[in-house]
Assembly symmetry: C2
Homo-oligomer: 556 residues x 2
């Protein structure tokens, strides 16, 4: 690349330098946008993308998910990340594109609640592996008992954003997972996928780690059986050489044996469609008439409402939708805005549910009080969404994970996938901080999270989650989302204040009782003196007084 520099450019010389930038090149250079800033974050992002895909695939296929995640250190600062699922498998011809092409997938062009939505994640992980180690992504996949398994090694040709298949072979393979009982047989399936990527990576435990991600994943997906193993290189004391120290499988078992209810894909709601998109949709419509297009391509537009809209816009309902003129579409757009429509269908969302949130919290956070709130669905920019929240509140000192003097712990989830990084940029965090927790009996530094031995669980479910970046780590600040989140948290607050009030009164009564208990012997002694009671009678008085105190306390 010899560069002409220091000279004055002309329109012609500049034109010669113009060229296409492939989307792979773009994200390779800007890999921090995808969550691959550092070796430590890269390993977490890779696990996240692979697990998200595995869970989506299992749920879409109606399969109770079982997933195994393995991190295997192969050199200093280098790991093979491997994720295996019991999903439906991937058709052989699709494997290269799914794993080695950015912006490819089935989830972008639909409005349906799922973890993945961009068609970037897992290919980006492969691209990062390729960039840092030169290695290929290795995929094993089997779609059913009767078809052989396939093994492929793929890389991205970043210049063209196209997959390059380095190896493609039939193999004898099926997914195998650690046994259910200690001495049992491995659990086997006749279908599933395994992806392995070698990459520059760093494995660290803590709040932003693979461990934490998987733990939260188990909390939000109680129908998931999840296995995790880490194998690190250790220095052999005798020879000084690095030797792998094989880890053991750690398993999160299922809390429930049923899948979340299946969710429907929906059509866009007319009130959430902008003018330019309306033009595009009419141009692409397969309906024969304008009226038909309005009815078929949008949600909540009955035949009658479609006729109404055409009348209002003074357009012929039998016009060919692909040939409506610009000015007419503007009239149509205005007519749609002026037409009352039912809100988008809301059965496209599957909340985790209050019971399962409580179950998840109880499993992971021993505490004294739990409560959860699932709100009704709402709509932002035409997209249905719902918010649900929960809290586990420990007594001070009860749970070493939840310090009484620390900020409360906040776990964020979007469509059941945990969000670990970028909490400061997230609308959910902002809603937490904006609630006036002092009203609900919690200490709260101004504009910060409240203080206390508590863990909060915040979840947004939507057919299209508005993330602030491609790395899907924080939710954008739509006012509708902030409002719903705030209402949900305030409801939690009202329940918390009742519990905290009860706890406070109990503590107060306890204090008083303890205080009075100290005096009972003296009181009895005084009575004995005045009334000339026997020692036995004095003992009875003491017991009576103690019992009275006991009853009083119980009435609090």
């Amino acid at each position: 690349m010899a560069q002409k520099t220091g000279t004055k450019e002309t329109a012609e010389s500049m034109a010669r330098q113009q060229r296409d930038i492939s989307v792979s090149e773009f994200f390779l250079k800007n890999r921090h946008l995808l969550g691959f800033d550092s070796p430590r974050k890269a390993i977490m992002t890779t696990v996240k993308e692979a697990v998200d895909n595995a869970l989506d695939a299992c749920e879409e296929a109606g399969q109770l998910p079982e997933i195994a995640v393995e991190l295997r250190q192969v050199a200093n600062g280098r790991f093979v990340v491997s994720v295996q699922d019991n999903g439906p498998g991937i058709v052989r011809t699709q494997i290269p594109k799914v794993f080695a092409k950015l912006l490819y997938g089935s989830k972008f062009h639909r409005l349906r609640m799922s973890r993945g939505q961009q068609g970037i994640g897992i290919s980006a992980a492969g691209m990062y592996g390729q960039l840092t180690t030169g290695a290929a992504t290795v995929i094993l996949s089997k779609t059913k008992k009767s078809t052989p398994a396939h093994r492929q090694e793929v890389q991205i040709d970043t210049r063209a954003n196209k997959p390059a298949v380095l190896r493609n072979e039939q193999v004898d393979w099926r997914p195998e997972f650690p046994p259910e009982q200690e001495d049992g047989d491995p659990v086997c399936y006749s279908h599933g996928t395994q992806v392995a990527i070698e990459m520059a990576a760093q494995y660290v435990r803590g709040r932003l780690s693979v461990d934490e991600y998987l733990k939260q994943c188990a909390v939000a997906n109680p129908h998931l059986r999840l296995h995790f193993k880490v194998t690190l290189l250790k220095k052999d004391k005798a020879t000084g050489a690095l030797q792998p120290e094989e880890g053991t499988w750690q398993t999160y078992d299922r809390a429930v044996k049923t899948l979340p209810p299946p969710v429907e894909a929906i059509q866009p709601h007319p009130h959430g469609v902008e003018l330019g998109l309306l033009m595009q949709m009419l141009k692409d419509s397969r309906a024969r008439t304008l009226k038909g297009a309005l009815h078929e391509d949008f949600s909540r537009v009955s035949v009658r409402v479609a006729q109404d809209i055409c009348d209002r816009a003074e357009l012929n309902p039998k016009a060919n939708p692909t040939r409506v003129a610009h000015r007419e579409i503007e009239a149509l757009y205005t007519a749609i805005q002026d037409t009352k429509l039912m809100r988008p269908p809301l059965d496209c969302l599957a909340p985790i549910g209050e019971d399962q949130i409580l179950a998840g919290l109880k499993k992971e956070f021993p505490a004294d009080f739990y409560t959860a709130v699932t709100r009704s669905p709402e709509v932002y920019r035409g997209n249905p969404f719902l918010v649900e929240v929960g809290v586990a509140c420990a007594k001070p000192g009860e749970n070493p994970d939840l310090g009484a003097e620390d900020s409360v712990r906040v776990m964020r989830f979007a469509n059941r996938a945990p969000l670990l990084y970028m909490s400061g940029a997230c609308a959910m965090t902002d809603a937490m901080q904006a609630v006036n927790w002092k009203t609900y009996g919690l200490a709260q530094p101004r504009g910060s999270l409240p203080i206390g031995p508590m863990a909060f669980f915040l979840h947004i479910a939507s057919v299209w989650v508005p993330f602030t970046s491609e790395s899907k780590e924080a939710i954008a600040h739509y006012p509708e989302i902030l409002k719903e989140m705030t209402f949900a948290l305030q409801e939690l607050g009202r329940r918390l204040v009742v519990y905290l009030g009860r706890r406070k009164r109990a503590a107060e009564a306890n204090r008083k009782r303890h205080y009075m208990e100290m005096y009972i012997p003296h009181l009895a002694l005084g009575l004995q003196d005045i009334l000339a009671l026997s020692d036995k009678q004095k003992k009875i008085v003491e017991t009576d007084l103690s019992q009275m105190l006991e009853r009083t306390h119980l009435d609090v």
Copy 2:
């Protein structure tokens, strides 16, 4: 789009739903990633992208830039944003791609300091206009006196990320700007470009506005002559109809008449190149030998050093670089890391410079004390960068824009382009907050910006600025950048503490002097009594004493 839903998917049914996602579709759905979240932000982002491009083009062509920005309201919530420059113009065949194709441009594939670097911005603005109003982007361009001007109307085909040319005609046009003197002739050029985009927009003044962007642009680009006009619709009192109320041109004149020194594009530095990229570069190399490739495609690799690297990696320096095996490239990579190399060339950066920062600050922020620091270039991930900072410090109450009780004002710039949004996510803001300003005599709430009547100017210049998002609003947290920024701010702090100390001592002396002045008449009266002085003599004594005090004060 009939959707098969509620049914259980198989690998085959899922494969049928997989498809390409065009980069335009992706960013259309995620337009908040590009800075088009809201009508208010969209108008600012559009001006920013157009002005950045205009300035880059002028500077590359060696042309002193003159730019006119016009916002014209055409309906409620709808504006035409128009930006005209006196740059080199754009070759006719390139216009559609430059303005209606994402990821296309001349700046991505080079390492050279410029404002634009992604090839997204201006096409994204056009796409947003198209989405919200259905309108096309209108471009006028003239490349030289002898060639006719062209006018084109273009839109993006978002499905394919390709331009669609709606109109393409020769016109009689040349760029014209407001005159230099009040009654003078308009300033005309024989080349330049004008782009106009109609979009859903909201015009609001304030800290995050077009006004503020352009003002800061003028501060950081003193060689720019910049014009700005806003025409809003007002209700006619008689008829009640909306009528345009033509605005007047507001001009920021040039402070200097020379361009910043031209900057060179550089080759990547070997220590900043990752293994995967090294493989790609060797594969793409035009050199005939490995040694030649190392020398020609990288910076700071002399022929001797190239030989050294080959020796160390035990590779044949005469090997064909496109045919080096994977394992050998790993050896090469390790050899490069182990080789001492000169740091990247640093003349590829053009700082604004301390003098010009001071000039800019003085023009916009009347204050009592100014200082600026330009640091030497440093390197992050192989990319040269430098940091410069400045401060204007007013006396309390001196400048109504700079409140004595408020947080200091912070202006952030990257390659001379102002950054307005997302200051909370920016490494420069974090560096400001992390400095212990109490050491330098400023009040500072913990973890926040310091308090005082001050405006800070922070600038990073680099051949590749690491932004945290495509909307280019905040700098990523590279430790090298944070460190440099901190050093620069600490140097400012050391100068500030000297100034503030002097001001404090002066105020103290002033107070004492005032105190003593009050006693001079009494003292003179006493002396008159004791020494029986005449009134004239008493007057002389008073004057002498006052002068003594004056001298003492001056010595402080």
